[in-house]
């Protein structure tokens, strides 16, 4: 399996994707903004097809669209991003725009599926280097702001009054989220990045209750999904995204079961 360069690239990419999903996922789940994350990944799809349309790289288009939306949402207050109606409006609009840009560009529709659902074959050395570079920048930023992000995410009301520049911290978080989505969408696709950012962290919180352990377990669940998914995809030739979502769903199912059993014993 590792004879193929693209498999080696994909497995290496998996490590970095799992790391950033570990940190960001725990914060996303704490803020209860899973669905905003979903919208942001659709905005990412739209951005990628815009990039294709313009003839610049899809990643650049994605970064442009997702960061701009993150800043706008951050400025208008994160509540907007949690409101059901605004989520539907944005999801619909950006999905539509994505399709428009793709049909305007000369690319084949297979390109759309590769942006939406990702593809391991799509990863080459230069993709991998961009991914590693952006991941490292993300991780360093998260480390430097870790305490502020944690307070802001886990205790929004407390932080609003007792943390300086709290609103700025929220905006930075959303930009980091936009970056995470753009970076990871290359491998799992913009629609399914949602899975890696929300399910591992949602499962981890049933098993452990300290911040450090939650992040570690979330990384482990994400890495398990990506690596095992890649392996199974290699064996069967079925799409990686399917395996990743299936594995993460099983992990979540086990977590819920664990929680039920724990409660029954109390």
């Amino acid at each position: 399996m590792f004879y193929y360069a693209f498999m080696r690239y994909a497995f290496t990419a998996g490590i970095f994707i799992a790391l950033i999903c570990g940190f960001m996922g725990v914060f996303v789940v704490a803020r209860q903004t899973s669905f905003f994350t979903h919208t942001l990944s659709e905005i990412g799809f739209s951005g990628a097809s815009f990039g294709v349309f313009l003839g610049i790289s899809p990643l650049l288009g994605m970064l442009l669209f997702t960061s701009t939306s993150a800043i706008l949402i951050g400025l208008s207050g994160e509540k907007l991003g949690r409101r059901e109606a605004s989520i539907s409006v944005f999801s619909g609009l950006f999905l539509g725009l994505g399709i428009l840009f793709l049909s305007l560009s000369t690319q084949q529709s297979s390109y759309a599926t590769s942006i939406l659902f990702g593809s391991i074959v799509g990863i080459d050395a230069s993709n991998l280097h961009t991914l590693i570079f952006l991941s490292i920048i993300l991780l360093i930023t998260i480390m430097l702001l870790f305490r502020r992000l944690a307070y802001n995410s886990f205790d929004g009301q407390g932080a609003e009054y007792n943390q300086r520049y709290n609103k700025l911290v929220s905006i930075i978080f959303l930009i980091l989220l936009a970056l995470t989505i753009s970076v990871t969408a290359q491998i799992v696709g913009s629609l399914l990045i949602f899975v890696l950012l929300t399910i591992p962290a949602s499962a981890a919180k049933y098993f452990v209750h300290s911040l450090g352990k939650m992040i570690a377990l979330t990384c482990a669940f994400a890495l398990l999904g990506v690596w095992l998914g890649l392996y199974l995809s290699y064996l069967t030739n079925w799409p990686v995204s399917f395996f990743i979502t299936a594995i993460e769903s099983v992990v979540y199912g086990v977590a819920i079961l664990y929680e039920k059993i724990q409660n029954a014993h109390k």
């Binding site: 305490r147 307070y151 205790d155 929004g156 932080a159 009054y161 919180k205 209750h209 911040l211 450090g212």
Partner: protein
């Protein structure tokens, strides 16, 4: 009287309504002052306004004798549902804000242990906050605020959802901590029992103004 906050000639308006006109009062230092008044009189709005003025360095009407960092505000509503995953220990640690590195220094660990003991949370520190009782949650909010080593604590209706026993426990704890740490406490409340038993002063807000009354609170 040694005061921590002095308000003079403050006018406060919200859309379509004047909440306060020429409001004037002082908050005595190292005492527990209960802020009382009818629902909708603007207790919370007033406190938030005072903090905002301090944030924006508007000192014309509102003068604090301390810095913003030395004030901790414990809001009435917090987004803590049954599934809130963090342990009490980790939730309280969120209150340490001066450090950049993600992990706690040995000195912070010592401080944290001390605060958890002070607030009677040591034996349940590993419990998820979402699973904790109302009284335990309030003690955790208090403990988190203490991590910032404040001079002034402002609690907004901290006892609103508590049963009688937990209410009195919390107030006794507050008065003990106030004495040992030399804190000043502002406590927004409706509860006449608590005011009678524990308040050193009462700031009663009504008719767009406020009156400070001295009380005989227990120590």
């Amino acid at each position: 009287m040694d005061s921590i906050l002095k308000v003079t000639n403050l006018n406060l308006e919200i859309p379509n309504r004047t909440l306060f006109k020429n409001l004037k009062f002082e908050i005595p230092a190292h005492k527990l002052t209960c802020v009382t008044g009818e629902n909708g009189v603007g207790k919370t709005t007033l406190i938030k306004h005072l903090l905002q003025d301090l944030d924006n360095h508007f000192t014309q009407h509102v003068q604090f004798s301390i810095q913003r960092d030395q004030i901790q505000y414990v809001p009435q509503l917090r987004n803590i549902d049954d599934e809130f995953p963090l342990s009490i220990h980790d939730f309280v640690s969120l209150g340490f804000k001066k450090r950049i590195l993600p992990w706690n220094s040995p000195q912070m660990k010592t401080t944290l242990t001390q605060i958890l003991t002070e607030t009677n949370l040591s034996n349940i520190e590993k419990q998820p906050l979402g699973r904790s009782s109302g009284g335990e949650k309030q003690r955790a909010y208090l403990a988190q605020a203490l991590c910032a080593n404040p001079e002034l604590l402002i609690l907004d209706e901290a006892t609103a959802s508590l049963d009688v026993i937990s209410k009195h426990e919390l107030l006794k704890l507050l008065k003990k901590i106030m004495a040992t740490r030399g804190l000043t406490i502002i406590f927004i409340t409706h509860d006449p029992d608590l005011i009678e038993q524990y308040a050193d002063y009462e700031l009663h807000l009504s008719n767009q103004s406020g009156t400070l009354l001295k009380k005989e609170g227990l120590d």
